[in-house]
C-alpha cells in the first residue's frame, strides 16, 4: 500500500492476521544485528533490572525529598480547614471567612518535573486531607466556563470512584450546566449524604473520617499561564460562596511569589490568605540523585567523566530538569549494555563472578582485547602473561579477582571521595568545587593531586582552625562509620585517634596558656617600633620554627588526607576491566540528547564532503566545488544576496555554475533540453530551500523571494 495520496495524509496499517502476535519481544531488537554469542540476552536482562532499580530508587528519593514539603502543606490545610469548622461568630472570624486559604507553592523553573510533584501531592492530599482534590492546568481553562466545567467534572469524578458507577452518567449530563451555585449545592448534597448515611459501607479513610465536610482542594498547576480575568473572577465568586463551599487553593509557581500580585489586583488578592511554601531546589535534588545512583557501590554501572559532564551540563545550562537527567542516565545505561559486550559483567559482584564462569571463548577474547586489561597483562611476569593470553581457565580466575579488586576500589573510592569533599567543601572560594559532583568529575578525569586546585586546597587546609578541623574530622568519621567495609576500618581508627589528640590538646592548651602567657602587655609604641617588633617576632618564628603542637597535629592530619587521596582516588582508567562498568561514549550521548540540527543542516549545505566522501567534493572552507549537489550550489549562491533575491538572477547564476560543471562530463546533449533540465533542477533546489526555511516567497517585488536567515545560516 502506498503512503502517498492527494486526498489523505494518514495511512493506517494493520497486520493482516487478526490474532496479531503479541508483538516481538523487545529483547529481540537488542539481539538483532548483533553477535548472538555475546550474551545479548543476559545483557538486556541486566539492563532491565538495573534500570528498574534505578527508577524505583529515584522515585523513592523524590518522595522522600517532597515529604517535608507535603507535611507542612498538609498541616497548613488542616489548620485552615479547622478555621472553617470553627464557624465563629465574632467579627474577626467573619473576615477570615471571606478569605480563601491559599498555599503558594514555589517549585522552580524546571517545569517538566512539576508534574511528578503534583501527582504525588494529589495522592498525599487524597490520603490525608480530603477526597476532593482537583488539579487544573491553564491550557484547559481559557475562560470561566471551561474552568468551571473542568472543575465540576473532576470533582464529580473524585466521588465517582467511591460511589457507584452509575453516577458517572449523571455527571456527563450535568457537564453542560455548571455554576458556582450548582457546585455548592452539589457539595451540600454530597456531604449531607455522608452525614446522614453512616450505615453505608464505605471504606473510611483513617484520617479523613474525622472530617465532617472535607474541604475542596483546587490545585492550579501553572499559575503564571492562567489568564488574569479567569483567575480574578473565580476567586471573587468562590470567596462569596466560601461559607457553603470550603475551598482551598494551591498555586503552583515556577518563578517567584511576586507573580501573584502581578496577576491579581489588590482587591482580589486581599481575598486570599496566602502562605508560601518552597520546594527543594532542583540542584539539591540533583545532588541527592547523584549521591544515590552514582556515588555508591549499590549500582555497578558508572559514568565516565565526559559523560557525567555532559549530563550535568545539560541539566545546568539547558533545563534544570531531573527527569531529563534521569533520561540521559537511562540512555547511557542502554547504550552501555547495547554496545559493550563485556557489560554482561556489569552487575553485583557475586553474580558477576558466577557469570565469568560461563563466558564464551569470544567474550574471553573480548576481555583480552580490552586496553586496560592489556596494560595489566604487560605488567605481569612473562609466564603469567602467557597463561593469561592462552589459558581460558586461568584468565577467568584472574578476571574474578580483578573484578573483586574493582569492587573494593569503588567502595574505597567513594568513601575517600566523600571524606575529601568534607574537607574541601567548606574552604573559601571552593578550589575543588562546592558540590561533590564537581569533585567527582575532577577525580574521574585525572590524578587530582596533580592539579593546582588540589595544591591550593591543601594550602588552605593547613590554615584551618582547630574547631573547624575537628568538626570536619567528626563528619569524616561518620562517613567511614556508615560503611560496613573493613578495608578502611583502620582509617576510621586513625581519625578517632586524631580527634582524641585534639581533645587532649585542649586540656594541655589550658595549662600552656597559663604558663606561656607572656606579660609583655600592650605598651604604647609608635608605628616604627611596632613594625620593628613585628618583624622581630616574625624573624624569631622563622628561625626557631617552633610549631605549636596543634600545628604539628594539623600537619599530620593534612598529610594523612593527602595520603588517602593518593592511594584511593586513582582515576578509573588505571583499573583493569573498568570498561565493563564505565560508560564512556560521550559523543553518542550528546548526539542523541543535545543535537544541533541547525549546524547539521549548515554543514550539509556548506561542506557536502563532510557527508559524501567523494574526492571531487573536497574543497577548502568557504568554497564548494561546482559539482556539489544542486541544493548546495543554490544555497551558496543565495548566501550572497541581501534580504531579497531576484529569482531570475539566481537561476542564471545557478545555470552558470551547473553548465560549467557539466561541461566536463558531457558536451553532447542539445543545449535547449539541457537548459530546461537545469532550470528544473533550479526549481527543485529553490523549493527545497523553501521547505528548509531559508527563503520564502514575498510580495514585495515580483519574482523575488525573501531570505529568512542572517549570516551563514
Amino acid at each position: 500500500m502506498a503512503t502517498s495520496s492527494v486526498s489523505k495524509g494518514c495511512f493506517v496499517f494493520k497486520p493482516n492476521f487478526k490474532k496479531r502476535k503479541i508483538s516481538v519481544p523487545v529483547e529481540d531488537y537488542f539481539n538483532k544485528g548483533k553477535n548472538e554469542s555475546e550474551d545479548s540476552k543476559l545483557r538486556f536482562e541486566t539492563y532491565q533490572s538495573i534500570w528498574q532499580q534505578m527508577k524505583s530508587e529515584t522515585e523513592q528519593l523524590q518522595e522522600e525529598l517532597n515529604k517535608n514539603l507535603f507535611n507542612s502543606l498538609i498541616e497548613f490545610l488542616q489548620k485552615s480547614y479547622s478555621g472553617f469548622q470553627k464557624n465563629s461568630r465574632d467579627w474577626g472570624g467573619q473576615i477570615k471567612l471571606r478569605e480563601i486559604p491559599t498555599a503558594a507553592l514555589i517549585l522552580g523553573v524546571n517545569v517538566t518535573d512539576h508534574d511528578l510533584t503534583f501527582r504525588s501531592l494529589t495522592e498525599a492530599l487524597h490520603n490525608n486531607v480530603t477526597p476532593y482534590v482537583v488539579s487544573l492546568q491553564a491550557k484547559d481553562c481559557p475562560d470561566m466556563k471551561h474552568f468551571l466545567q473542568k472543575l465540576v467534572s473532576q470533582l464529580m469524578n473524585c466521588c465517582v470512584d467511591e460511589e457507584s458507577k452509575e453516577e458517572s452518567i449523571l455527571v456527563a449530563q450535568k457537564k453542560t450546566f455548571c455554576s458556582m451555585d450548582s457546585l455548592s449545592s452539589w457539595y451540600m448534597s454530597v456531604t449531607h449524604i455522608n452525614k446522614t448515611d453512616p450505615k453505608m459501607p464505605r471504606k473510611k479513610r483513617t484520617s479523613s473520617g474525622q472530617w465532617q465536610s472535607p474541604p475542596v482542594v483546587l490545585i492550579l498547576k501553572d499559575l503564571e499561564s492562567f489568564t488574569t480575568k479567569v483567575l480574578q473572577d473565580f476567586i471573587i465568586i468562590s470567596s462569596q460562596h466560601l461559607h457553603e463551599f470550603p475551598l482551598i487553593l494551591i498555586f503552583g509557581i515556577a518563578t517567584s511569589p511576586i507573580i501573584i500580585h502581578r496577576l491579581l489586583p489588590h482587591a482580589v488578592s486581599s481575598l486570599l490568605c496566602i502562605e508560601l511554601f518552597q520546594s527543594l531546589s532542583c540542584k539539591e535534588h540533583l545532588t541527592t540523585v547523584l549521591d544515590k545512583l552514582l556515588l555508591t557501590t549499590h549500582f555497578p554501572f558508572k559514568l565516565s567523566e565526559k559523560v557525567l559532564q555532559i549530563l550535568t551540563n545539560i541539566f545546568l545550562y539547558h533545563d534544570f530538569s531531573i527527569q531529563n537527567f534521569i533520561k540521559g542516565l537511562q540512555l547511557s545505561l542502554l547504550e552501555h549494555f547495547y554496545s559493550q559486550p563485556l557489560s554482561v559483567l556489569c552487575c553485583n559482584l557475586p553474580e558477576a563472578k558466577r557469570r565469568i564462569n560461563f563466558l564464551s571463548e569470544n567474550q574471553c577474547e573480548n576481555i583480552r582485547r580490552l586496553p586496560s586489561f592489556r596494560r595489566y597483562v604487560e605488567k605481569q611476569a612473562s609466564e603469567k602473561q602467557i597463561a593469561l593470553l592462552t589459558n581460558e581457565r586461568f584468565l577467568k580466575e584472574e578476571v574474578q579477582s580483578l573484578l573483586e579488586n574493582l569492587h573494593v576500589y569503588h567502595t574505597d573510592y567513594f568513601l575517600v571521595l566523600r571524606c575529601l569533599h568534607q574537607f574541601t567543601s567548606s574552604l573559601p572560594k571552593y578550589p575543588l568545587g562546592r558540590q561533590i559532583r564537581e569533585l567527582y568529575c575532577t577525580c574521574l578525569e585525572k590524578n587530582i593531586w596533580d592539579s593546582e586546585e588540589y595544591e591550593s586546597a591543601l594550602q588552605l587546609l593547613r590554615m584551618l582552625a582547630k574547631d573547624e578541623l575537628m568538626t570536619i574530622l567528626q563528619k569524616c568519621l561518620k562517613v567511614f562509620k556508615t560503611s560496613s567495609e573493613e578495608q578502611l576500618g583502620s582509617t576510621a581508627k586513625r581519625i578517632e585517634e586524631f580527634l582524641a589528640q585534639f581533645q587532649s590538646l585542649d586540656a594541655e592548651a589550658k595549662e600552656e596558656d597559663t604558663s606561656g602567657l607572656q606579660s609583655k602587655g600592650l605598651q604604647k609604641t609608635d608605628l616604627y617600633h611596632l613594625q620593628k617588633s613585628l618583624l622581630e617576632m616574625k624573624e624569631l618564628r622563622r628561625t626557631s620554627k617552633k610549631q605549636t603542637r596543634f600545628e604539628v597535629l594539623r600537619e599530620k592530619v593534612v598529610n594523612f588526607i593527602d595520603s588517602l587521596v593518593r592511594e584511593y582516588l586513582l582515576p578509573p582508567e588505571t583499573q583493569p576491566l573498568h570498561e565493563a562498568v564505565y560508560f564512556s561514549a560521550a559523543h553518542t550521548l550528546r548526539e542523541h540528547l543535545n543535537a544541533a540540527p541547525r549546524i547539521a543542516l549548515h554543514t550539509a549545505l556548506n561542506n557536502p564532503y563532510h557527508y559524501l566522501k567523494n574526492e571531487a567534493l573536497k574543497s577548502e572552507e568557504g568554497c564548494i566545488p561546482n559539482v556539489a549537489p544542486d541544493i548546495c550550489i543554490a544555497y551558496k549562491l543565495h548566501l550572497e544576496c541581501s534580504r531579497l533575491i531576484n529569482l531570475v538572477d539566481w537561476s542564471e547564476a545557478f545555470a552558470t555554475v551547473v553548465t560549467a560543471a557539466e561541461k566536463m562530463d558531457a558536451n553532447s546533449v542539445t543545449s535547449e533540453e539541457r537548459n530546461e533540465i537545469i532550470h528544473a533542477r533550479f526549481i527543485r533546489a529553490v523549493s527545497e530551500l523553501e521547505l528548509l526555511g531559508f527563503i520564502k516567497p514575498t510580495k514585495q517585488k515580483t519574482d523575488h523571494v525573501a531570505r529568512l536567515t542572517w549570516g551563514g545560516c
Binding site: 503512503t3 502517498s4 492527494v6 489523505k8 495524509g9 494518514c10 493506517v12 496499517f13 494493520k14 496479531r20 523487545v26 531488537y29 538483532k32 517538566t112 491550557k139 540512555l331 542502554l334 548526539e591 542523541h592 543535537a595 540540527p597 541547525r598 547539521a600 543542516l601 549548515h602 550539509a604 557527508y611 559524501l612 567523494n614 572552507e621 568554497c623 564548494i624 559539482v627 550572497e640 544576496c641 541581501s642 529569482l647 531570475v648 538572477d649 547564476a653 545555470a655 553548465t659 560549467a660 566536463m664 535547449e672 530546461e676 532550470h679 528544473a680 533542477r681 527543485r684 529553490v686 523549493s687 521547505l691 528548509l692 516567497p697 517585488k701 519574482d703 523575488h704 549570516g711 551563514g712
Partner: protein, 577 residues
C-alpha cells in the same frame, strides 16, 4: 510599446558603462581570491578613484588573466585559516555571524567563480572569461537611479581611457555580432543582444589592454586596498551594528527582471517531474553508503522506541524513503500509522480520527479534540497489550507546527504504548518545542543526512514559487472567459486595460464602480448598472475580481492577477480574434 522599447534602450546604455566598473570590481575581487565571501561594500564607492586613475582597470584586467598564482596563494592561506578554526565546526563561526549588506551583484560573481573553479586544473583559460563578463551587464542593471550619477561619471572616464570610438560605434550598431559563447547567451533571452555586444567589447578591451601597459607599480595600491578593508572589517565587527546596518534601509537593490520574460519559467508539476527524471543523481555510491549506515540503526531505533523513547530524525535531505524502508523492514507485524505531515490537508483532527476510527474501531464522534485525546489516552492506558507506532513525515510542516497540534501529538507520544518516530526538516523546527513539550516527546535525536530530493514533500505546495502559478491563472482566465458571453468578456477586457494603463501608478487601488459603469455604457456593453452588477457577481464567483471599499466609501474593482499575466492574456485574446 514604443515607450518601453525606448526605455529598454536607455537601459542598454547604462548597462554598458556600469559594466566596466564591474569588471574592475570583479577583478579586485579575484585578488581577494576565495575570500570573496568577505565583503566589499565598496563596489560603488570605488568609482571616484577610478575616475582619477583610469589606468587601473587596464592593468587589473590583464592581471586577472595572468596572475593565477596570486589566486592559488590565497587559496593556500585559506586552508591554513580553516585549519586554525578547526574543521569540526565547519565554518561554524559563520553560522552565527550576521550578514552585512551585500551588493546585489555578488551572486552572479560567485556563480562565475564557482563555475570557474574546476576540480583540478587551475589554469584559467581565456575562454572562460567572457562567461564572467556576461554576468555583469545583467547585474549592473540593478543599480538604482541614485547610482546613475556615478555611473555616468564613470562612463565618461571610460570613454577617455579606453578606445572611445570603438565603443561608440558599437553602441550605434547593436546586435551585429554573431559568434561567441552561444550556449550561455541563449539562456538569457532578453539581454542577449546587449550581452553579446558587451562581451565583444570587453573581449577586445582585455586584448588591447594586454598589449598595453603592464606596469605593476600602479597596481600595487589597489592590491593593498583589499586587505586593509578586511582588517577594518575585523576590527569593527560589532555584530549588532552590522545587523542594523543590514536592516536599516527598507530598500533593497535587486534587479527588476521577472520570470515571465523567460519562457522557460512556466513549468508545471508534471513536466518538472519528467525533466528531473532525466537527471542522473550524482554521488550515488556515497549516498548509498550513507543510507546503509542509517539502515543499520533500524533495530536500535526499534529497541529505543519500545523502551519508551521517541525518535526524531533531522538533517538535510528527504527522510521519507528512509522511514519507508524502516516501516517495511521492521514494522510489518505491528499496527502503525503513517502520517504525511507535508500533506496540505493534514490536521491533528485527522490523525486522531484515523486512530480512533481505524485503529481502535470506534464509530462515535467527539465533542472536541481534547475529548478525543482523553478517550484515546484512556483506551491505551487500559489496554497495555495495545501498541501503536506513529510515523510522521515532517512533524514540522505548516499544518502541524502549531502549538496546539504539537501539544496533542506530544501527549499521544508520551503514552507508553504509542511509539513515535518523526522527521523534521525546517531550520527552526526545534523552536516548536518548549521544555514541557520536549519532555512529553522524550526525544532521541538522530542525524540522518540523506541529500535525497524532497520530491514528495514539495510536490503539494505551490512553492515552486511563481513558476507554477504563472501558468495556472492564465489558463484559468482563458477558460473562464471562454464560457462567458462576448459582452461579459468585453467588460472584463475593459477592466484589464484600465488596470494595465494604471500599472505604474503606485496609489492605484482599482476602478471605481461608477467610472466602470460609465465606460461600459459608452462601449455599449451594459444598459443598466444592474446588469453590470450581475456580471460582476459572476466574476467575483470565479475570483476574477476583487472589490474594495475606498476611503470615500466608493467601491473599487481590482483584478487580483499580476500584470504580466494580464498582458499575456490580452495578447492571446488579440491573436485569437
Amino acid at each position: 510599446m514604443m515607450s518601453t522599447l525606448e526605455l529598454k534602450e536607455d537601459k542598454m546604455l547604462e548597462v554598458q558603462f556600469v559594466g566596466d566598473d564591474d569588471v574592475l570590481n570583479h577583478i579586485l575581487d579575484r585578488e581577494g581570491g576565495a575570500k570573496l565571501k568577505k565583503e566589499r561594500a565598496q563596489l560603488l564607492v570605488n568609482t571616484k578613484k577610478i575616475i582619477k586613475k583610469p589606468e587601473y582597470d587596464l592593468d587589473e584586467d590583464d592581471r586577472e588573466v595572468l596572475k593565477d598564482q596570486n589566486y592559488v596563494e590565497v587559496l593556500g592561506r585559506d586552508i591554513q585559516e580553516s585549519l586554525k578554526n578547526g574543521s569540526a565546526a565547519d565554518g561554524g563561526n559563520k553560522v552565527y555571524s550576521f550578514q552585512n549588506r551585500k551588493p546585489s551583484e555578488k551572486m552572479s560573481k560567485l556563480a562565475s567563480e564557482l563555475a570557474k573553479t574546476p576540480r583540478k586544473n587551475v589554469s584559467v583559460n581565456l575562454k572562460n572569461d567572457p562567461e564572467i563578463m556576461i554576468n555583469i551587464p545583467q547585474c549592473s542593471k540593478r543599480q538604482s537611479p541614485s547610482d546613475k550619477v556615478q555611473v555616468k561619471n564613470n562612463d565618461k572616464s571610460e570613454f577617455l581611457s579606453t578606445a572611445p570610438s570603438g565603443l561608440r560605434k558599437r553602441l550605434i550598431v547593436p546586435g551585429s555580432h554573431s559568434d561567441s559563447e552561444s550556449e550561455y547567451s541563449a539562456s538569457n533571452s532578453e539581454d542577449e543582444g546587449v550581452a553579446q555586444e558587451y562581451e565583444e567589447d570587453t573581449n577586445e578591451a582585455t586584448l588591447s589592454q594586454k598589449i598595453a601597459s603592464q606596469n605593476r607599480v600602479v597596481s600595487a595600491p589597489v592590491c593593498k586596498e583589499t586587505p586593509s578593508k578586511k582588517m577594518k572589517r575585523d576590527k569593527t565587527s560589532d555584530l549588532v551594528e552590522e545587523y542594523f546596518e543590514a536592516h536599516s534601509s527598507s530598500k533593497v537593490l535587486t534587479s527588476d527582471r521577472t520570470l515571465q520574460k523567460l519562457k522557460r519559467a512556466k513549468l508545471d508539476q508534471q513536466t518538472l517531474h519528467n525533466l528531473l527524471s532525466k537527471v542522473s543523481p550524482s554521488f550515488s555510491a556515497e549516498l548509498k553508503q550513507l543510507n546503509q549506515q542509517y539502515e543499520q540503526l533500524f533495530h536500535k531505533w526499534m529497541l529505543q522506541l519500545r523502551l519508551g523513547f521517541n525518535i526524531v530524525l533531522f538533517g538535510l535531505g528527504s527522510k521519507r524513503d528512509l522511514l519507508e524502508r524502516f516501516r517495511s523492514a521492521v514494522l510489518q507485524d505491528s499496527i502503525h500509522v503513517v502520517i504525511n505531515g507535508f500533506f496540505p490537508g493534514i490536521s491533528v483532527k485527522s490523525i486522531l480520527n484515523s486512530i480512533t476510527e481505524e485503529v481502535l474501531d470506534h464509530m462515535g464522534t467527539f465533542r472536541s479534540l481534547l475529548d478525543q485525546l482523553d478517550w484515546i489516552v484512556n483506551k491505551f492506558k487500559e489496554d497495555s497489550s495495545l501498541e501503536l507506532f506513529l510515523l510522521i513525515h515532517n512533524l514540522d510542516s505548516q499544518m502541524l507546527r502549531g502549538d496546539k497540534s504539537q501539544q496533542i501529538i506530544g501527549q499521544l507520544s508520551s503514552l507508553r504504548n504509542i511509539c513515535l518516530i518523526a522527521s523534521i526538516d525546517h531550520l527552526n523546527a526545534p523552536l516548536m518545542w518548549d521544555h514541557a513539550k520536549q519532555s512529553l516527546y522524550n526525544w532521541l535525536w538522530y542525524e540522518t543526512t540523506t541529500y535525497s530530493p524532497y520530491t514528495e514533500e514539495t510536490s503539494y505546495e505551490n512553492s515552486l514559487l511563481v513558476k507554477q502559478s504563472g501558468s495556472l491563472p492564465l489558463s484559468s482566465l482563458t477558460h473562464v472567459l471562454r464560457s462567458l458571453t462576448p459582452n461579459a468578456r468585453g467588460i472584463f477586457r475593459l477592466l484589464i486595460k484600465y488596470q494595465l494603463d494604471n500599472q505604474d501608478n503606485p496609489s492605484y487601488i482599482g476602478l471605481s464602480f461608477q467610472d466602470f459603469y460609465q465606460q461600459c455604457r459608452e462601449a455599449f456593453l451594459v444598459n443598466s448598472d444592474l446588469t453590470l452588477r450581475a456580471q460582476l457577481t459572476e466574476f467575483r464567483d470565479h475570483k476574477l475580481i476583487r472589490t474594495k471599499k475606498g476611503t470615500d466609501g466608493v467601491e473599487y474593482l481590482l483584478i487580483p492577477v499580476d500584470n504580466g499575466t494580464l498582458t499575456d492574456f490580452l495578447e492571446k485574446e488579440e491573436e485569437e480574434s
